[in-house]
């Protein structure tokens, strides 16, 4: 497997070359979570994730809802 270095939620990680955003969500065990995703500050909707390939150096955010006031 050729790995790519990306930044996920401000932490550097490696993902397999050719992985999509949907793959990343699945690898992280987050398919059940309601989450929103950004790649390089661009909002990627859930139905766009399988068609969004990850590129080396991408800055990805996966966010969800937490308790707040």
């Amino acid at each position: 497997m050729i790995a790519m270095r990306i930044t996920l939620n401000n932490e550097e990680i490696e993902v397999a070359e050719g992985a999509t955003l949907a793959d990343l969500i699945e690898d992280r065990g987050l398919t059940r979570a309601a989450c929103a995703t950004e790649v390089n500050r661009r909002l990627i909707r859930k139905n766009e994730r399988p068609d969004t390939p990850i590129k080396p150096g991408d800055r990805i955010e996966i966010v969800t809802l937490v308790g707040g006031g």
Binding site: N9, N10, L30, A33, A34, C35, A36, E38, R41, L43, R45, K46, E61, I62, V63, T64, L65, V66, G67, G68, G69
Partner: protein, 288 residues
């Protein structure tokens, strides 16, 4: 023969507060509560229920998709019952607040929750006080309104700032009673009153919700008695020693304040005014 008089019992039906319409949605409860700072999710769930709220606020965060027990906040919120109001807490610029608002909307659209188009807008000016940045809040309001959001804008209690936010298209302006989480209550009732007066001069039914600073039930009642349409709070319940009981107290105070505001309170007087008649007093009255 002795006759015992007994008054006929009176059956009182407590009037229900009018629903509050915000951003096109009618809310039965005028209390909006947060979901943060609870000891655990189960306590939170019980408190949300006890508060009677229809709307609960949440935050958008990158970490903690699940807690150490594999639980997620959304497992403990009845999405059929509650409208979820995502906030932009932690944002110190209009740009960040707009970004976070859009992320929150995306999640709520997936959940098909009616709060998807709503945002509790916070653009903070300072980490110590968490007071709002008026310029940043106004800028973000304009952008979010243009993007189709119903903006509930957290503001200071400055009446002019509040009017500017209303004029920028906010669905509601939410002046702070006092700093977030401070428990100081309504520190400047005169300013809240001026906010209400100015905001309603051109829009008599404009919803104004006092947000932040509530420490106990009387603070909610004070805000409502001043004429606020609702109150938003979190820490006052979540950090109370008995959070669930405090949630009940806040619900009751909100209703009490609502009715008191409409019942026409008595004027304050310098001297006493006896409730029992002077006529027929048996005892000696000094000076007479």
């Amino acid at each position: 023969m002795t006759t015992t008089h007994r008054a006929e019992p009176v059956r009182i039906i407590e009037p229900a507060p009018e629903p509050l319409t915000v951003g096109g949605r009618a809310l039965r409860s005028r209390l909006i509560v947060g979901t943060g700072k609870y000891a655990d999710f189960d306590t939170m769930r019980r408190c949300l229920d006890a508060s009677g709220a229809d709307v609960v606020t949440v935050a958008v965060r990158r970490e903690r998709l699940f807690n150490e027990r594999g639980e997620s906040l959304l497992d403990f919120i009845d999405l059929d019952r509650f409208t979820i109001l995502p906030n932009t807490a932690g944002c110190f610029s209009a740009e960040d607040a707009v970004r976070v608002a859009r992320l929150g909307r995306d999640i709520l659209e997936q959940l098909e929750n009616p709060g998807a188009s709503w945002v509790k807008l916070e653009v903070l000016g300072d980490r110590k006080t968490l007071l709002p940045d008026p310029a940043g809040t106004l800028e973000a309001t304009r952008e979010l309104v243009a993007d189709g959001f119903e903006v509930l804008a957290y503001s200071s209690d400055d009446p002019i700032a509040a009017v500017r936010l209303r004029d920028a298209g906010s669905a509601s302006v939410m002046p702070a009673g006092s700093p977030i989480g401070s428990g100081l209550g309504v520190l400047n009732p005169a300013n809240i009153s001026l906010c209400l007066e100015l905001l309603r001069e051109d829009a008599p039914v404009y919803p104004v919700i006092v947000d932040a600073g509530v420490g106990t039930a009387s603070d909610v009642a004070v805000a409502m008695e001043l004429g606020a349409d609702g109150v938003l709070l979190n820490t006052g319940i979540a950090h109370a020693a008995d959070a669930e009981r405090m949630a009940h107290a806040m619900r009751l105070a909100c209703i009490a304040g609502y009715h008191a505001a409409r019942a026409g309170r008595i004027e304050k007087k310098r001297y006493a005014s006896a409730s029992s008649p002077w006529e027929g007093v048996v005892s000696h009255i000094p000076g007479e």
